[in-house]
C-alpha cells in the first residue's frame, strides 16, 4: 500500500486542482501510466503514475485543490491477475464484508462483483496543513463539491450575474475548486472573443476585455513573476555573449535536409541545442541544480525549452537525457514539445527536473537574449536571431549568417571564464556540425 502524492512540477508550484481521473479503484496501472489530469497556474498537465500497482482509492475528488505533497491516489500491490477469464475469486483485499447483514440475501455469492471495493472518495483533508504551528487550517475539511453544485465565490457570482454569464461550463480554480472572479473573467473573455476558448479549459489568461474588471490580474503572469523574482533575488547572475558564424552549419544543414521529407527536416534550432548539450559535458558546473545552499551537478542533461504560450505566459518543458539524443531525435523532440505545449497537452513528467534551460527568441528578430535563470537551475542559454551580418573573414569583410549566443549563469557556482569556455566550445562545434 502506498500513496501517490501531488508532485511539484516546478519551484513555483505549490498546489494544483485535480481536473479529472482516468483511472478508477481496482484499475491496475504501470509506472508511467496516465492517472488523470491536474491543473496548475501554468495549465493542465497529465499526471503519470510513479509506480505500478492497483488503484485502491482516489483520495481527492475532481475540482479539489490540494497542496504539493498531499496524497491523492492510494495504490496497493498488484494482485496476480487470474489468467483464466473466470471471475471467480476476486477477493479484493479489505473488501467490506457485507455478508453479515442478514437482509442482504444476494450478497454472499454474487460473483459478478469482481470490482474492487467501492473505494470511498475520501476527501483527505484537501488543504491539509501539516504545519504544526498556529494553523491556518480551514475549520473543517470541506467535502468535495458536487459537479452539479460547484462552489462560486460571492464576488464571482455577482459579476457573473451582472454579465448574464451561465456558470455551468466554468472551471473553478479557487479554494475547493470554487469559481473565482478570475474564472468568470476568463469565461467572459472567451464568450466575447471570436477566438476559440483555450484548450481543455486551461486557465490561459486572456487580455482584459471591456467586461473584465480592471483588478483582475493574470495568474500566469503571477506565477512567472514569482519564479523570476525569486531568481533575481537569490541568484547572482553573470552574463556573457558570443557571436557565432553559422555559415558552415547552415550549409551543412541545407545539404542534410535536401533529400529528406519535410517532416524529417532538421531545424537550425536543433543544431544549436545539440551543440549546447554537447558542450555542457565539458563544463559540469553549468548543468545541475543549486538547492539548500549547495550545487549538485548532473551527468545527464535535462534541457528545459522555454516556450511561450499562445495566450501569454511561459513554460519550460524538459527534454530528458538530451545527451543521448541524436540530432534527428532532438529535432523531433523539440517539434513535439512546442506543439504539445501550445495544445495544453504536456505531461507532468515533462515539467520538472530540468538541469539547464534554453530560450530562443530568434524567430522574433532579437539579436541577443539575456535570460533569467529558472531556479534551482544554474544557467540559461539564449539564442538570438540568425541574421546576415558583416563578418571579417581572412582580413576581408564578408556577409555571414551570425547568431548571438548568450549565457546567464549562477556566479555562486561558476565563474565567467568557464562560461566563456563553454560558449566558445558551442561556437566551435557549430563550425563542424557533421562531426556531431
Amino acid at each position: 500500500m502506498s500513496d501517490i502524492r501531488l508532485p511539484s512540477l516546478g519551484a513555483d508550484m505549490d498546489a494544483a486542482t485535480i481536473v479529472s481521473w482516468c483511472v478508477a479503484p481496482g484499475d491496475a496501472v504501470q509506472k508511467g501510466d496516465l492517472l488523470g489530469e491536474i491543473e496548475t497556474d501554468k495549465g493542465v498537465f497529465d499526471l503519470d503514475s510513479r509506480e505500478a500497482g492497483v488503484v485502491a482509492a482516489l483520495l481527492v475528488a475532481p475540482g479539489t485543490k490540494v497542496t504539493v505533497g498531499t496524497p491523492i491516489v492510494r495504490l496497493q500491490e498488484a494482485v496476480p491477475v487470474p489468467t483464466a477469464a473466470a471471475p471467480e475469486a476476486p477477493e479484493a483485499p479489505e473488501a467490506p464484508e457485507a455478508p453479515e447483514a442478514p437482509e442482504a440475501p444476494e450478497a454472499p455469492e454474487a460473483p459478478e462483483a469482481p470490482e474492487a471495493p467501492e473505494a470511498p472518495e475520501a476527501p483527505a483533508a484537501p488543504e491539509a496543513p501539516a504545519a504544526p504551528s498556529a494553523l491556518a487550517a480551514p475549520a473543517a475539511p470541506p467535502p468535495s463539491p458536487s459537479p452539479h453544485h460547484p462552489h462560486v465565490s460571492p464576488l464571482a457570482r455577482r459579476i457573473a450575474a451582472e454579465h448574464g454569464l451561465d456558470l455551468a461550463g466554468v472551471t473553478g480554480t479557487g479554494v475547493q475548486g470554487a469559481i473565482t472572479q478570475a474564472d468568470v473573467a476568463r469565461a467572459l473573455a472567451a464568450r466575447d472573443d471570436a477566438t476559440p476558448a483555450a484548450p481543455t479549459g486551461a486557465p490561459v489568461p486572456t487580455p482584459a476585455s471591456a467586461h473584465t474588471p480592471a483588478t483582475i490580474v493574470d495568474g500566469m503572469r503571477r506565477a512567472v513573476a514569482a519564479a523570476v523574482t525569486r531568481s533575481k533575488r537569490d541568484i547572482p547572475h553573470y552574463y556573457l555573449e558570443h557571436d557565432v558564424d553559422l555559415h558552415a552549419a547552415l550549409a551543412w544543414l541545407a545539404r542534410h535536409n535536401a533529400d529528406r521529407p519535410i517532416t524529417e527536416r532538421v531545424l537550425p534550432a536543433a543544431l544549436l541545442v545539440r551543440a549546447t548539450v554537447q558542450a555542457l559535458a565539458r563544463v559540469p558546473e553549468l548543468n545541475g541544480v543549486h538547492e539548500h545552499g549547495a550545487f549538485t551537478p548532473s551527468s545527464a542533461v535535462h534541457v528545459g525549452i522555454v516556450t511561450a504560450l499562445r495566450g501569454g505566459g511561459l513554460v519550460a518543458p524538459v527534454i530528458a537525457d538530451a545527451q543521448t539524443h541524436s540530432l534527428a531525435e532532438l529535432n523531433a523532440a523539440l517539434l513535439d514539445l512546442v506543439q504539445r505545449t501550445r495544445a495544453g497537452a504536456l505531461r507532468t513528467s515533462e515539467l520538472g527536473g530540468g538541469t539547464i534551460s534554453i530560450t530562443n527568441l530568434g524567430d522574433r528578430g532579437v539579436r541577443a537574449v539575456h535570460g533569467v535563470i529558472y531556479p534551482p537551475q544554474v544557467a540559461i542559454v539564449g539564442f538570438g536571431a540568425i541574421a546576415d551580418r558583416p563578418w571579417a573573414v581572412d582580413g576581408m569583410l564578408a556577409v555571414r549568417p551570425v547568431v548571438t549566443i548568450t549565457l546567464a549563469a549562477d556566479h555562486r557556482v561558476s565563474d565567467g571564464i568557464r562560461g566563456a569556455q563553454f560558449l566558445a566550445d558551442i561556437g566551435r562545434r557549430l563550425q563542424a556540425p557533421e562531426d556531431a
Binding site: 498546489a15 498556529a134 494553523l135 491556518a136 472572479q181 489568461p205 490580474v217 493574470d218 514569482a226 523574482t229
Partner: protein, 350 residues
C-alpha cells in the same frame, strides 16, 4: 522586525515640508517611547499620576517607568500592593474624582483580578449614571507570549476587553504609536486600555513629529497590496509584514497589511475598503480563535462585504491551548510567518 514595523505609510506620515519648526524624527525603543509619553503627560498635566505594582522603586516590571520616581516623587509614582482590583478600582475612582490616572498592570493575565472593576465599574459608570459619570482612566498592560512565561503570563486577552461597550481598546504596534497614543488616551473622557506586547519593548523605531500622528482610532494600512488583505495588530504586525514580503518575493502575491491600532472601536471603514479592493482577507491574531476578535472581524467582513469576497475568509490564531513553557511548543502555539503564508497562498489563485 522593528524596521518593518516602522515601514513608512505614505498616506499617514505625509510630512509638512514647509514647516521649518517641525522637529526631526527621533529614534528610540518602544520602552523609551512609552516612558517619554508618560513623562510628557506628567509634565503637561498635574492631574496625571502613575500607579501600579513596582512602578516606582523597582522601575516597572518592564522598566518602562524607570527613573520616573526620582523625577516625580512617590505621590505621583505610586507603588501599590499586589491588589489589582483595589488599585485599578482606585484608578477609576480617582478618575471620577478629577485625576488622570495611568494604571499599570504587569500583564493581561493579572488584569483578570481587576476584571470586575474594569468591566462592572469603568465600562458601565457613564451609562449607569445616565451620562453623569465619565471615567477618564488609562490602564496600561503588557500582553502576549514569546518569552517562555507559560500559561499565566502569556495570553492575549485584549480581544475579551474589546467585547465590552464603554471601553476604548488600543494596541500600539509601533514605536511611534507607543510614543503618541498615550496623550489622546488621557484626553479621552472614557476608560482606555492600552495593550503593549511584551516582545515590542526592546524594538527600536522612528518617531516622526507629533503632527504626523494618525488619530488613534484609525487603522493604518502599513503595506499596500491588491491581492489579499491581512488584518492584524500589536505584536503580530511585524511578522505579518514579514509574511507579506515573502509572499511578494516568492509568490508574486501583493498583500495589503492593516494595523488595527484600535481594537474597540474597530475602524471598519479601513478594513472594508481594503477587502473590497483585494476580495480576500486573512486575519492574524495572537488571541485564540474561538469567540475572538478575529471572529468578530471575519463576521463583519462577511456581513458587510460578502459580495466582494472571492475566497473564504481565513484566520491565523494561536493554537487553542494554554501557553506552554517549552520554547518549541510555545512557538508552535503562536502564529508564525509560515502559518500566515499557508493561509494566504491557497486563497490567491488565478
Amino acid at each position: 522586525m522593528a524596521e518593518q514595523a516602522q515601514a513608512p505609510m505614505p498616506s499617514a506620515a505625509a510630512p509638512a515640508p514647509e514647516s521649518p519648526a517641525t522637529p526631526a524624527t527621533v529614534r528610540m525603543t518602544y520602552r523609551e517611547a512609552v516612558r517619554e509619553a508618560i513623562r510628557e503627560a506628567m509634565h503637561a498635566d498635574p492631574r496625571v499620576f502613575v500607579m501600579g505594582e513596582d512602578v516606582g522603586a523597582y522601575g516597572g516590571c518592564y522598566a518602562v517607568t524607570k527613573g520616573l520616581l526620582t523625577e516625580f516623587g512617590p505621590e505621583r509614582l505610586r507603588d501599590t500592593p499586589l491588589s489589582e482590583s483595589a488599585f485599578v478600582g482606585a484608578g477609576i475612582g480617582a478618575a471620577v474624582g478629577g485625576m488622570r490616572p495611568i494604571v499599570e498592570i504587569m500583564t493581561v493575565n493579572f488584569s483578570l483580578l481587576a476584571l470586575d472593576q474594569i468591566m462592572n465599574t469603568a465600562a458601565t459608570f457613564l451609562h449607569m449614571s445616565g451620562g453623569q459619570c465619565n471615567v477618564p482612566v488609562v490602564i496600561r498592560m503588557t500582553t502576549g507570549a514569546g518569552r517562555q512565561l507559560a500559561a499565566q503570563h502569556s495570553h492575549s486577552l485584549e480581544g475579551w476587553y474589546a467585547h465590552i461597550p464603554g471601553l476604548r481598546i488600543l494596541a500600539p504596534a509601533t514605536v511611534e504609536d507607543a510614543r503618541r497614543m498615550l496623550a489622546p488616551a488621557l484626553a479621552d473622557p472614557d476608560p482606555v486600555l492600552l495593550f503593549e506586547h511584551a516582545l515590542l519593548y526592546n524594538v527600536s523605531g522612528d518617531v516622526p513629529p507629533a503632527d504626523a500622528f494618525v488619530p488613534f482610532d484609525r487603522a493604518i494600512v502599513r503595506r499596500a497590496g491588491h491581492d489579499v488583505t491581512l488584518v492584524t495588530y500589536g505584536g503580530m504586525l511585524a511578522r505579518t509584514l514579514e509574511a507579506a514580503e515573502r509572499l511578494a518575493a516568492d509568490d508574486g502575491i501583493e498583500a495589503e497589511v492593516i494595523d488595527l491600532r484600535s481594537l474597540r472601536p474597530l475602524d471598519e471603514a479601513t478594513i472594508l475598503d481594503s477587502v473590497r479592493r483585494t476580495h480576500r482577507a486573512v486575519i492574524v491574531d495572537e488571541g485564540w480563535r474561538s469567540g475572538s476578535l478575529s471572529a468578530e472581524i471575519a463576521a463583519r467582513i462577511a456581513e458587510q462585504a460578502f459580495f466582494d469576497l472571492d475566497a473564504p475568509l481565513r484566520r491565523v490564531c494561536s493554537a487553542e491551548v494554554p501557553m506552554p513553557y517549552a520554547r518549541h511548543l510555545e512557538q508552535a502555539a503562536l502564529p508564525q510567518v509560515d502559518g500566515i503564508l499557508a493561509a494566504v497562498r491557497p486563497l490567491v489563485t488565478r
